[in-house]
Symmetry: C2
Subunit: 343 residues, 2 copies
């Protein structure tokens, strides 16, 4: 297995990305990683990390000369063909790697993936789909779209439900994953027009004898219950999904900060903090978004993941593990074949 | 000072509402509360709460015969003129009370307030405006709209900024409150069309020599930074605002639940939990949305507040305190006069 890792997209330079790649190849003996980016910088960082140890043979470098910045738009990757992002995607296109990870400009990533790889047949709009923890132990929820789109049509949302259904069935072995629709109320007649129309269509599909009647629609899910574990899949337009994702991330990080500060107050609270470590470790491991990692760009012809621009080594490591799992499970081919069989 | 309290709108019956009213009149000697709703039910619950003590003279009952349910639409209050919600709003209209609190159907509340009280001159759309805690001690942020509207125009959003500016200046004594615009990125060119146009207009207004140049626009605020304390005001359309509000509430309650469960595990963790109580009490008091209370329906001709349908005694108590403060500060008249002076 081989993955292309664009290490130039981070807000903090390429060091955390390269450190995560090193950890992954040391842990997963069957994984090869191509570090794509400025060759001198990558070599320098590798030297810092490896000290005098030799470079693992499962790491290779693909030197590139251009860098796409966070402010670059959808055409940047097409214009800058020798950028790390564009070159990494080209490796997928040429079948030289099985998947790709970047943390660079979302707009450029979407534009370049669309242009070079295209969408799965039958899918108009790809979606970013993170896998999120829930209140119920070992149960997760996938939320899509969280930012590949701003607005979505009813058909987009139905196709998100279908892709996530196949994903949960094949990757998570859930026979009939429960699908929820993000909305500001549980009632059928709540929310924007697109959401109301999607509710009606999903309900009709589920109750029909048609091709999509296997979809298991459970109604509206309010933002406060996104992580309650009620459903396996939550579909929403990219703007609302991005708001939910960033709101819960922000609140989690705010509360962890306040708790940490609380324990730091004096010797006594520091001691109690030490005793409480075990309790927090579990919760923090589950709900710290550095551990849950990035999101798959589902619907694209290829296995493409995106990490936060602000990722640290731990985030990159988690996202690389998600990418490896998606490649092992051959997720994109499975979605492609099932959608083909339905049409 | 006299307030009308529609006690029939709760998901859990009128007992928690009446208990909160009792606590408030006992604490605030200048406050009179009219409990509006089913007379027999209110009397029964008062008896339960008061046992053999006499009913405080600052509490009165306004008996009504109809109840608006959570599923009732915008015309319910106009149709059911003897409903507790409609009667409570009529008391404001007749100047018999200084303000109103309900936790009933949002749609019916909006419709009835619009019909009976109307909007402040110059304001097309009222907004729900909760006052939220931030990471910075004793600093709050107002967020509007969080659900009075689904979609909003650029002009709506500018009027939200203006009302919140006057609110923060007069009530919170902030000379030039910082205004943020909720968006999925900090860049000017991010997000939906309405948001981009609002950014451009607010920027132009702030930089102009025009009437609204006192507005202190600070750019986009991402959902993860809503509670960071960067700005005093965050404006957004009602749909996005509702998603943010419910997402952060949901995440806070989820984390508090997990922490509580963690401490319950065994004797040792229970003991550590006891020692940690002091640390959590502060955080929970600040970020438990039962304490921050409901939201003012700002832009309406009158002082109208709304609490969650799922409010308990603590939530109602907090919201009543917010309502009392708004009446003391004469907030609606101040907004009305300043908007008049600008036009």
């Amino acid at each position: 297995m081989k993955v292309a890792f664009d290490v130039m997209g981070s807000d903090y330079g390429s060091l955390p990305a390269i450190a995560a790649a090193l950890q992954v190849v040391n842990e997963f003996k069957n994984v090869n990683i191509v570090l794509v980016g400025d060759e001198a910088q990558i070599k320098g960082n590798l030297q810092t990390l490896l000290k005098n140890k030799p470079m693992p043979s499962s790491l290779t470098i693909k030197g590139t000369t251009q860098v796409i910045t966070m402010n670059d738009g959808p055409l940047a990757g097409i214009r800058m063909t020798n950028s790390s992002m564009s070159q990494a995607i080209q490796l997928v296109k040429k079948n030289e790697v099985d998947g790709i990870l970047t943390s660079g400009s979302t707009a450029a990533y979407l534009g370049t993936c669309h242009f070079l790889l295209g969408e799965i047949k039958g899918i108009k709009r790809p979606a970013f789909m993170p896998i999120m923890p829930t209140l119920i132990k070992d149960q997760q929820v996938v939320l899509l779209d969280v930012g590949a789109n701003i607005e979505n049509t009813v058909d987009d949302l139905i196709s998100f439900a279908l892709m996530a259904h196949i994903y949960c069935q094949t990757i998570q072995s859930i026979f009939r994953p429960k699908i929820g629709l993000l909305n500001i109320g549980t009632e059928e007649n709540k929310g924007p027009e697109v959401t109301k129309a999607t509710y009606a269509k999903l309900k009709a599909l589920t109750q029909s004898n048609g091709k999509l009647s296997f979809l298991n629609f459970h109604g509206n899910i309010e933002p406060r219950n996104v992580l309650s574990g009620e459903v396996d899949i939550i579909i929403c337009d990219g703007y609302s999904g991005n708001i939910v994702l960033k709101s819960v991330e922000g609140m989690a990080s705010l509360l962890f900060t306040l708790i940490k500060n609380g324990y730091k107050k004096n010797i006594f609270t520091k001691f109690v903090g030490l005793l409480s470590l075990g309790i927090f470790k579990n919760i923090k491991t589950t709900f710290d978004y550095k551990n849950t990692g990035g999101a798959q760009l589902i619907g694209i012809n290829g296995i493409a993941f995106k990490a936060h621009g602000s990722s640290d080594k731990k985030s990159y490591y988690s996202t690389l593990k998600l990418l490896i799992r998606a490649i092992e499970q051959d997720v994109t081919n499975k979605i492609t074949k099932q959608i083909e069989a339905l049409s």
